[in-house]
Symmetry: C2
Subunit: 202 residues, 2 copies
DNA sequence: TCCAGATAGAACCGATCGGTTCGATGTGAA
DNA sequence: TTCACATCGAACCGATCGGTTCTATCTGGA
């Protein structure tokens, strides 16, 4: 009841604490922008003290790096899983990816891609590097799908599909058009068809 | 030589002063980000006093609004002119637009679209509204081209082309790939061809 | 000729920023 | 039992923030 540094009965687990901070701070910084909230408010939101934050992350930039890397890993795994769950047909995988994006765009609090947003706000390391790697991961996924579809030039097709993915996210955010995912899906399927030498139906 | 409020021989012209501030502040805020520089440094960069800035714009947000509106107008006119200069063929106009974007991506100091960046950093009015209108203007241009090309569904094709435009800008910025404009051009021409009922060559 | 207004430059304001330190209090492993 | 460590809450730090106010100086139109 009274305010004590370590509440009785609490379990002291630094790793778990750190993970919890990354999770809460990630949501908070995404919603408010990197410069839209101070450390004090962030700590209050996370229910931790500033000392705890600085012991775990060293600085605000350190926290941001941890948050962005965790988010990039999560999003990358998410899209890969969505594609994998869509079966073996590349066109189905592509459609599933954009459909998943569309559901994301419609979630309350959607504000675009957190990693791209962060790189836009900072445009310096580490945000920049994490964003570059993040887009590269998306490019890998799309290029792989393009290759499995038998594209004449899988890397070129992958790059074009990436434009649709990133464009859809920007348009959903700033034009207020979550339906951009549907447009992107249809465009992607068109590019896939036109970029594929032979239909591989038996 | 000595520091005087109004240098001898200077011509007092508030409108011209205001326009100059918008121009310099636009470049400065684009390069540094809206929260990356303070008013004091901005005024030093523009060679004006804080009082002058606040008399013309009232607040930092007022300055940002003026800067973004001016930028949106300029970019919109620029792309429309590029399309107009490319002749009557819709495919040529589309290619010219993406080629022009590619030249922009390669300019030193390119940092993505200033308006989209601002909306990402603020995500509140007025930046949000200006960004929405800005994307809408691009959409108008692309939809018009799609319609003139005889697209079966000009508005749908316009929306898909917009994804390519915005996606190319994001990818050029954060993946460090100015060649995204070429990818976008090829994808756009493919979508145009596939979305057009009949080739209108005589 | 005169005066309203534009402007520079500097001082100043309260608020907030990121970050540090400290004491009190608890946990968990040796 | 002991002690290193995790944690909270609060006080504190210098710097910077956006914004205001002042004086002095010059322009441009009445």
């Amino acid at each position: 009841m009274c305010r004590v540094p370590v509440p009785k009965g609490s379990s002291l687990n630094p790793d778990r604490t750190r993970a919890a901070i990354v999770r809460v701070a990630g949501d908070f910084l995404y919603a408010r922008g990197l410069d839209g909230a101070g450390i004090a408010e962030l700590c209050a939101e996370a229910g931790i003290s500033k000392e705890t934050l600085y012991r775990h992350f060293g600085s605000k930039e350190g926290l941001i790096r941890a948050v962005l890397e965790a988010r990039s890993d999560r999003v990358t795994r998410w899209l890969a899983q969505v594609a994998a769950d869509a079966g073996d047909e590349p066109a189905d995988q592509l459609a599933a990816v954009f459909d998943a994006l569309g559901r994301w765009y419609r979630e309350p609090g959607f504000r675009g891609c957190a990693i791209v947003n962060a790189a836009t706000q900072r445009h310096t390391t580490p945000a920049n590097e994490i964003a570059t790697r993040h887009l590269g991961r998306h490019l890998d996924l799309l290029t792989t799908i393009a290759a499995r579809a038998g594209a004449a030039d899988p890397t070129a097709l992958g790059r074009r599909l990436l434009l649709l993915l990133e464009g859809a996210t920007v348009v959903a955010d700033h034009l207020g058009a979550p339906g951009s995912a549907d447009d992107a899906r249809e465009a992607a399927l068109t590019l896939l068809k036109c970029g594929t030498q032979t239909a591989h139906s038996p």
